[in-house]
Symmetry: C2
Subunit: 251 residues, 2 copies
């Protein structure tokens, strides 16, 4: 049975995250219906990550063993026809039999968008957090560099989490502006619950002057959630890239 | 009474165009409610153009005489608070007493977006027409240049129109690609009913090889709607710029 790796994009606005839940619409529930319809059987669909309610994905990977492989074009057309407008697949390939979308993943890249203009913009409001006061993105970029490395990130983990190992490696963390959009980009081998949204909130504290750029290291070493900033809303967050095999930050 | 020029953006998906209509939601109806609420009186709100159902605007201007002017920041905050997420104002200024958003307008720029990829993308589907076969944007750009100048554009006007003067001047018409998005940009002193959407459909006929680049001139001179291409859907169309005073194509 071919093991297929399917790559999708989704606008998470309407969904309660990836994972199937009772009484709430999830990406997984909608996607697996479309896959099951094409293949005529209810196989197990493995997702690369449990994204939260309202989070979007420019790239999200799933893997599953299919009874046959109709080829990329036909698989994508059939699945997309059965999917709503806010979830669409754009790549499909046959992969190694032991490949698993979640366990084979070596790194992920997230983007957090902050729309930095005095007034709201209807075209970005679903995909960014609106912040109307000035942001010095160079300062935030300096602060962001302190996240790079292997650290215990307990300060940047929501209290609801029961993960035991809170050590993660961040390969890249930067802040760039493109007109009114300030974009935080972060790549790491894994992320704790709400970690990117808390990092974004902490970087905003640098913009507000509540903390200095190099306070980031102390906040990390304190291992205390109270020292970090607020958890910014889910709608500004995108899973942007999923890496298998090796991490290529340039691609 | 100060004459105010207010500039807004809107996602036209939910609306039946600019103009107030019975039994259909319009941008004008929603916007004037917000303006009337702030000023406490029902003055006449003049829009720069009658955009069609489903068309979007990166820039749309309205003018009206207000009983007082609370300044840009307060005016925008008050109006935006009363507006839904898909219509937002971003500029407001006091202008000459005889300024009229529609009659003072000297040119408008529209953009038509064609998403040129094999499979759909949830982030652009509301804002572009999906075309999955190859497009040679350089060929389309050459074809586009034939629209520039002063011509009778009856071939590019929907039959429903009862406009008598069908001569318009096009200052600029180009086609550019940015990754999977092919963008038609057109600027002119005025546009006939559905003109940009028919021009976009005709340029797509060049991509399909149904017509050659220089056939555009013959289609124009034929003054026959049947010789032009299909009217592409409204969701790919954006009013992008509105010019008063002088036309600056660079800005």
């Amino acid at each position: 049975m071919p093991n297929l790796l399917l790559t999708i994009r989704y606008d998470g606005t309407r969904y309660h995250g990836w994972q199937v839940q009772k009484n709430a619409l999830s990406i997984q529930a909608v996607l697996q219906e479309a896959i099951w319809k094409l293949f005529g059987e209810k196989m197990d669909i493995k997702g690369c990550s449990r994204t939260d309610a309202g989070v979007h994905a420019n790239m999200y990977c799933v893997s599953f063993h299919a009874p046959f492989y109709p080829g990329e074009y036909h698989t994508l057309c059939a699945i997309n026809n059965a999917l709503p407008e806010d979830i669409k697949a754009f790549r499909c390939e046959e992969t190694d039999d032991d490949f698993h979308a979640r366990y084979s993943c070596v790194a992920k890249e997230y983007i957090y968008n902050i729309y930095n203009a005095k007034h709201e913009n209807p075209f970005v409001s679903k995909y960014s957090f609106h912040y109307k006061y000035p942001i010095d993105e160079k300062k935030l970029n300096t602060a962001a560099s302190y996240f790079v490395g292997t650290h215990d990130f307990s300060s940047f983990c929501s209290a609801h989490s029961d993960v035991e190992d809170t050590v993660r490696t961040i390969y890249h963390c930067s802040v760039e502006r493109s007109k009114d959009m300030v974009q935080i980009k972060i790549c790491g081998d894994g992320f704790l619950y709400n970690m990117v949204r808390i990092i974004a909130g902490t970087l905003l504290d640098v913009a507000k002057g509540k903390i200095q750029e190099d306070d980031i290291l102390q906040i990390i070493t304190s291992a205390n959630r109270k020292n970090a900033g607020k958890t910014l809303p889910a709608n500004g967050l995108f899973l942007n890239k999923v890496f298998y095999g090796e991490v290529n930050l340039e691609s």
